[in-house]
């Protein structure tokens, strides 16, 4: 049968249970954590009942990868909700294990972007420098957009305030909250999509109150291009503008 009901499709191997996974994770974590006694003692492979702590880690992992897929940040409050009141005190351990899981299995980093409001971003920890396939529906026109932003950041001294970026984008007819026919919703695109792809870094200006944010080149931008190339592109754009976009490029999104 090629439409397999339930999970018994033969894809998954049965019989051994999770203590091995968590056991090995434990070895990699720092020694400060408390609650691991139940986990470390279970070296037996066969069906021991699952530690409820593991279930919480699993739940948190599920939420984190969902947030990654949605390209949304996550707050500590949201994470605590999943971990539940009962395990609130063990949150640091649970969080550490879940983060480790994400790193080792999915190549995703859970990075705190705002220490005051406890906001975390889910970014790619893999080297995507040569990862050229258009991913997540990014297509050619958006690269031009990115290069312009990189140019602005460079011109502003390698770090541009969010305000500056929006001023510039407004001049191009791109507005916060206004869906653009090529770029989609711009705020989401520059603060999340491009950040997740490691092209941009979006961080809170330290000690700013009310909080304000700034943009820098991300590691992937630094790896894939140079400031000279960006300037060259912008120069060409200004003095040798490309032909106007045809109708079918619009529809290609």
């Amino acid at each position: 049968p090629f439409l397999s009901p339930q999970g018994d499709s033969g894809w998954t191997q049965s019989s051994f249970s999770s203590p091995i996974l968590w056991n090995n994770l434990d070895e990699e974590l720092s020694s400060q954590e408390e609650s691991s006694s139940t986990l470390q003692s279970s070296t037996d492979t066969e069906s021991s009942p699952r530690d409820p702590l593991e279930d919480k880690v699993t739940d948190l992992v599920h939420l984190l990868i969902l947030k990654y897929r949605l390209k949304e940040p996550i707050t500590k409050v949201e994470m605590l909700r999943v971990v539940t009141k009962e395990y609130k005190n063990q949150f640091p351990v649970i969080f550490k294990k879940a983060s480790k899981c994400l790193e080792v299995i999915f190549g995703i980093d859970v990075k705190e972007t705002d220490t005051t409001s406890h906001l975390y971003a889910l970014v790619n920890s893999l080297d995507l420098t040569y990862d050229e396939i258009p991913t997540d529906d990014h297509s050619m026109p958006k690269n031009g957009f990115l290069i312009i932003i990189l140019g602005v950041i460079f011109i502003e001294g390698n770090c541009a305030s969010e305000e500056n970026i929006w001023e510039f984008l407004n001049m191009m007819g791109v507005y916060d909250g206004k869906e653009h026919f090529i770029y989609g919703e711009p705020r989401k695109f520059i603060t999340r999509d491009l950040v997740q792809e490691n092209y941009l870094e979006y961080r809170r200006v330290p000690n700013s109150d009310p909080p304000c944010y700034e943009f820098l080149w991300g590691p992937r931008a630094k790896a894939e291009t140079t400031k000279m190339k960006v300037l060259e592109f912008l120069f060409n754009l200004r003095y040798h503008p490309p032909p106007p976009k045809k109708k079918n490029e619009q529809a290609r999104k």
């Binding site: 090629f2 998954t12 090995n24 939420l63 990654y68 080792v104 529906d137």
Partner: protein, 266 residues
Amino acid sequence: MQGSTKRMGIMTDVHRRFLQLLMTHGVLEEWDVKRLQKHCYKVHDSSATVEKLEDFINNINSVLESLYIEIKKGVTEDDGRPIYALVNLATTSISKMATDFAENELDLFRKALELIIDSETGFASSTNILNLVDQLKGKKMRKKEAEHVLQKFVQSKWLIEKEGEFTLHGRAILEMEQYIRETYPDAVKVCNICHGLLIQGQSCETCGIRMHLPCVAKYFQSSPEPRCPHCNDYWPHEIPEVFNPEKEREAGVSKSSKKSLRSRQH
């Protein structure tokens, strides 16, 4: 960062990138999955031999097992294309869609799902779904908004639309089969051949047993005179062709250049 542990030792950047991209796309056809796998090898470990897809996926699944996540393989109900999705096995309810949609949107999906399961054809008409808008939980939704929400479901590959009627996308079946069988045990239809959940299919007019279209294709492949496996009466429907990926590729050479990693819209 490298998993030096015995089980997770198999996870390399090749596997990680594969998981990331599969996750982001939601569901992919086999052809795209193979391309995806090759791409991940090329970018993250070009010297290694590309492992056979089935083994590659089995290996990843052995690591994912303790997280109650699985790369599941299924088949589209209308034309038998193999599809793959990263499925969360833990939540056996519609709440797996929960963070993507609001309460009233989830309820709209629930209503559409019920109509689809109860229907004879596996399709629920737009009109019938929209007529239930007043019964939705949560914030009041108007029909115009509901139409928009239904399109959101189509775009996120939970529903398929054909000529104003809606049915479940292969992805929804992969993700929710268990939930559906547990929640609607009496209304649910099952394929006589593979015993999997059946939404669209053909049925015998005499004894009423049902079969998926791809199951029909395979079962009657070399039969000159197709007969019902249960009551032996003449099978009255057109027998579809077995899905052949090679033929597909030859025919659609010009199409394939347009086909990026996006899975085909039905």
